[in-house]
């Protein structure tokens, strides 16, 4: 059982504070959704947790299993079990998915430990079957010329292979048509389990019809302004964000 705690986290980009104090505890086995309109700091929060160099944690703390990760490099955080499914995954021309994943998994192994290539490919093909990904896919260069759906599927495949403790999924539904969305959601649902905590960041309720969250948080102007269970998502869908905004301003 692991936990990822955000304690009054503040995040700045240059001089500008974007996330203005977010507290949230995510435990293994739980799926939390963070919803909110564009520009409220959702993606910034996800990237800051992963250690993106553009963002500064200007206040608060982030703890993985009780230990602060603020001093850790992005790759150390990754190896500690944090996974960020990118909204806009980078292209790596000339590096095949198979080789990239191999290098990534190797980096998670201890010193002197060598990846068992046969076992690796066996597991890779298993996960690909699960995600309905064609075998030819792995010889393509990472995200190079991929469609929106392929990119997101590649993210979920990496997540499946790296088996993180916590996955931060940044707008995983953006740029997907309904069929692609279903496939990606199905993949995430298969990965759900007692060993994985998920933070789903999304603009739209529709993703949450396929990946049903345990908790829903609404973010507005850098803060979580409302939390609830999955019914909150439906309420938001019906009433729109203005409803939360008005409620928050009134308070």
């Amino acid at each position: 059982m692991s936990s990822l705690e955000l304690i009054d986290v503040r995040v700045s980009l240059g001089e500008k504070e974007i996330v203005k104090g977010v507290s949230l505890t995510l435990n293994s086995g739980e799926v939390h959704a963070i919803m909110g309109p564009n520009g409220t700091g959702k993606s910034t929060l996800a990237k800051a947790i992963a250690g993106h160099p553009d963002y500064t944690i200007s206040g608060g703390d982030i703890r993985l299993d009780g230990k602060s990760i603020l001093e850790m490099e992005p790759d150390e955080r990754a190896r500690a079990g944090l996974f960020l499914a990118f909204q806009y995954p980078s292209e790596i021309p000339g590096v095949s998915i198979a080789n990239f994943l191999r290098a990534a998994i190797q980096s998670h192994l201890g010193e002197g430990e060598e990846l068992d290539a046969t076992a690796y490919y066996k597991r890779l093909y298993q996960k690909m079957d699960m995600l309905k990904i064609d075998r030819k896919f792995t010889s393509r260069a990472v995200n190079d010329g991929f469609s929106g759906g392929e990119k997101k599927r590649a993210e979920v495949l990496q997540m499946a292979m790296l088996e993180p403790k916590f996955a931060l999924m940044d707008e995983t539904d953006s740029g997907l048509d309904i069929d692609a969305l279903k496939i990606v959601a199905e993949g995430v649902n298969q990965l759900r389990g007692p060993g994985l905590g998920v933070l789903l960041i999304t603009h739209y309720q529709r993703l949450l019809s396929y990946i049903v969250p345990d908790y829903v948080h609404v973010m507005w102007d850098g803060r979580i302004v409302k939390s609830g269970d999955k019914s909150l998502a439906l309420e938001l869908d019906a009433k729109g964000y203005d409803w939360v905004k008005k409620e928050f301003v009134a308070a």
């Binding site: 553009d54 980078s90 990239f100 290098a103 990496q158």
Partner: protein, 479 residues
């Protein structure tokens, strides 16, 4: 001019490696040089080298004439970098030899030299698998081995001294003809003091199934290495030659200036593969050119890593109808390094085709320059050239320049030129680090991806070695 005091039998005044801190270099063993021409360059140096090699009079004359050409030619700093002026020709040793006859079997190679090869990481099995190994240790080949099958096919694979002494009837015809002494200042220097290198002759119709391979390295401070290579592929024959170098690190500048001439007669194919990793104080100024006759094919695969300054533009003169030339070039310039590389394609017959693919990587303060020359005169028909050059920049201080010179006259010829500059973005590095790779591993992967399509054309063991070299370079480039 007297050579009395410089006869080869007189021992060198001092051991050139004495006084060098052996611990600061990566690996350097105390080799007793039997012949040493001392430092500095004069006619006496040339006389000494020629005498040590017991050369025929015509070769000595060739050398002395070349020396005058070298003196007469100015440094080409009107177009090339002024960094060339940092070379102090008086401080360079022009000839050292361990005085050993080239060896035929591994068992005959002295232990200390074997130890150095081990440190260079030449795998045991490679020695066995490869058809011929001509490993140059300083000026003379310390070890050479031609697989029995290859010599049975009539292939001659020897060093320059032995070739000119034993087989002048074969080699003299082309020696210095593809790259004349006066081609440039450094080809003149090489012609004056050349030593070592490989001379290969492949008889008509013979297809050498295994690549011929030579390793060499520089092992003494201030020691210039001037090997000379000439490969003649007779009609319809095929041969692949591979050279790779590693040099230990020394603080004073070292000069490497080779001349490589290839002759592909009618319908012959030559592939010449180089992976070079020089210490960051080495000036690597090499002239490489091939002459392709009718329907012949010459392909240069050239990979340059390290060195203070590399200037190298492998070329093909497409002399016969339907001849084909290709240059695949990879250059990596790290901090304090300048890779000035490119290709030359001289079309001199109808329906000749040439292809140039050059990729450069600049890291930190490293600088890459691409120079290309494509020449297709007006009277020719049906000639084609394709040139692609791509540059990858890693961090904002890197510099890259492209100087393509394309002269195409007449309207019956086709030329295509593409160039791109890309950057390893912070986003890309962050993406990879988020998957667990360190910054160095991430950069290394980006670079390997960038050259992947070219690296695939290398023989297996070379592409593995190339990847390892890039990993090492990138590891060191991260603060």
């Amino acid at each position: 001019m007297t050579t009395d005091t410089l006869t080869p039998s007189s021992p060198p005044a001092d051991n050139p490696v004495s006084g060098i801190d052996q611990s600061s270099g990566n690996f350097s063993y105390d080799v007793k040089y039997e012949f040493d021409a001392g430092s500095g360059l004069s006619e006496r140096t040339v006389d000494y080298i020629s005498a040590a090699k017991k050369e025929a009079a015509w070769i000595k004359e060739f050398r002395l004439k070349a020396l005058q050409t070298f003196y007469a030619k100015p440094m080409p700093t009107h177009w090339a970098t002024a960094e060339l002026n940092e070379i102090n020709f008086d401080k360079i040793r022009y000839y050292l030899a361990s005085g050993q006859k080239p060896k035929r079997t591994w068992e005959e190679v002295p232990e200390d030299i074997k130890r150095t090869f081990e440190r260079l990481g030449i795998p045991e099995q490679e020695r066995k698998f490869l058809a011929g190994v001509e490993a140059q240790f300083d000026s003379e080949a310390a070890y050479s081995n031609i697989k029995e099958a290859v010599s049975k096919q009539g292939v001659i694979f020897v060093n320059s001294t032995e070739a000119l002494r034993e087989h002048p009837e074969i080699f003299r015809k082309w020696f210095g003809k593809v790259i004349p002494t006066g081609d440039n200042k450094f080809s003149a220097l090489n012609s004056a003091v050349f030593s070592g290198g490989s001379f290969i002759y492949v008889p008509p119709g013979v297809k050498v199934s295994h690549p011929l391979q030579a390793y060499f390295r520089i092992n003494a401070e201030n020691f210039g290495q001037f090997e000379r290579t000439l490969i003649i592929a007779d009609e319809g024959s095929e041969v692949t030659y591979m050279e790779g170098c590693t040099a230990p690190k020394f603080s004073t500048s070292t000069l490497h200036s080779a001349v490589v001439e290839l002759v592909a007669l009618k319908g012959a194919k030559i592939q010449y593969i180089t992976v070079q990793n020089w210490a960051s104080n080495v000036f690597n100024l090499v002239t490489k050119r091939g002459l392709a006759h009718e329907e012949a094919e010459i392909k240069w695969i050239d990979c340059n890593i390290g060195s203070r300054l590399t200037m190298k533009y492998p070329g093909v003169v497409l002399k016969g109808r339907k001849a084909r030339g290709e240059v695949i070039s990879i250059a990596l310039a790290n901090d304090g390094q300048h890779q000035d590389t490119g290709a030359k394609m001289i079309h001199a017959a109808d329906e000749t085709t040439s292809n140039i693919v050059a990729k450069s990587i600049s890291v930190g303060q490293g600088r890459s320059t691409y120079r290309g020359l494509v020449h297709i005169p007006r009277h020719l028909k049906g000639c084609k050239n394709n040139t692609e050059c791509d540059a990858l920049l890693i961090n904002s201080n890197s510099r890259t320049d492209t100087y393509p010179a394309i002269t195409v006259r007449g309207d019956a010829n086709r030329v295509q030129h593409e160039a791109s500059v890309s950057k390893v973005s912070e986003e890309q590095i962050f993406y990879m680090r988020q998957r667990g790779l360190t910054e160095g591993q991430a950069m290394s992967l980006s670079v390997n991806g960038f050259i992947n399509d070219l690296a695939r054309q290398f023989p297996m063991e070379y592409s593995v070695e190339l990847k390892r070299l890039i990993d090492l370079e990138m590891e060191g480039s991260v603060g």
